[in-house]
Subunit: 290 residues, 2 copies
Amino acid sequence: MSPDNTSDLPELWSHVPHTHLRYRAGDKVADIDAEATPGFTGSKSDAPALMAERNERFAGLQEMLYANSRSGDHRSVLLVLQGMDTAGKGGIVKHVVGASNPQGIQYKSFGKPTPEELSHHYLWRINKALPAAGHIGVFDRSHYEDVLIVRVHNLVAPNVWGARYDEINAFEQDLVDAGTTIVKVAMFVSLAEQKKRLAERLDRPDKYWKYNPADIDERLKWPRYQEAYQAMLDKTSTAYAPWYIVPCNRKWYSRLAVLELMIEALKSLDLKWPPANFDVDAEKKRLAQA
Amino acid sequence: MSPDNTSDLPELWSHVPHTHLRYRAGDKVADIDAEATPGFTGSKSDAPALMAERNERFAGLQEMLYANSRSGDHRSVLLVLQGMDTAGKGGIVKHVVGASNPQGIQYKSFGKPTPEELSHHYLWRINKALPAAGHIGVFDRSHYEDVLIVRVHNLVAPNVWGARYDEINAFEQDLVDAGTTIVKVAMFVSLAEQKKRLAERLDRPDKYWKYNPADIDERLKWPRYQEAYQAMLDKTSTAYAPWYIVPCNRKWYSRLAVLELMIEALKSLDLKWPPANFDVDAEKKRLAQA
């Protein structure tokens, strides 16, 4: 398969995810139907074959991004995954990101900050994990925790977290200016579906490790998280780094959608295989004699 | 599929790779047949289905390793890949490591040291890249470059690189003592096959980026590299961190072989799903009411 930049969105998509799922001013978190499959006309049974095909497309583009960095191209891509527990961030990492070459992936999960991290500015640990040229960075949670869990739990004063929205926008503007394409995915699962998923973790000994009693504490703060997500979308969805709203009750849909968002991000870089930075014929002769 | 620790080596293997491919005192690099497929009775046509099946097994075990780290298990696995250019290190990363969840993988490629790296001890950058608990670290080249390219090019005095074998052994002993299982893979491609693979990179514009004129300079030093590899095997294949010799002219074979080495390493940890570190029934009740 020879990756190129022409439109190749599969016909099962009636609407292009990167425009259709993009947050628009006025969108309300309370109105999101987590069960929906916006823009997709197919069904679950279409997903496996489509995932396989588009994973290959993604992997081809990722290799091209990586290849270009060897010739001095400084661009990179950053996937930011935010969502409540069980929204399926791990599944995106495994099934979407996992399809590409580990060589070009920089994955980072942001948990509770360590004492060292807390002793720095909240963007310190974020900066350290930014993708190198040619790489796809994947943030499993991110700097947005600093306006989500931090806001909900009052971990810092309101004027402190309140100032972060502008700060994050400025930070992301710098990243974009430096050549990073940012894909911010807000993943929404319904309260009922979350209950089902947490119950499954409690029913299966091979899932216990994914369960954390604190998840229920967070669940009980759902309305406050909705507010915090709403503010995050309203204040940090910018032209240069927009949020995408992905309904996640159907895992197969959310994975297909994020996969298309990533493909589109890579296609927007208008990548080509880099030209040789050596004399091909001369090298052929050297090799023949070596 | 429920991973367990019983022997499940596919029948197409007549000999267990982790004993059959292990370096033995007296093994000579000059005698290695890079074309061979030691221990494997199948053929190339068997490879795709077998890779898919064993990749799944590998991914299952990797998840279990990761899961255990959440309950305080500090163990990790480190795959060290060494080989001449075109031996197929990248293919191992893509097709073997790539089958597992990026969440649990720490990939690091060691190229020419940066000025900062050079200002430190040669193990400084190695230490920084060691896998965290529950992770599989992948070294694409490694500290062994410090007794390979460094030795061949006389980048430091002989007494300096000469002291490194013992130092590396002590370093690896510490890692093993701290809970890291080290899988060291020496990949061997023949001179003729290397020529073919370099020629392909020069024939295909989508492969130019993998070509480096310096590869031919290294190729011309083949006999000196053979000496350096021989010394590396003789001096650093220890009971606690043995080298495995993998013939790599047939990519499908080398990938299957390394995959089995990794599966075996994970099986040797005798992993089980970690027990719940919370009261399952109490949490079920809390969830029902949440």
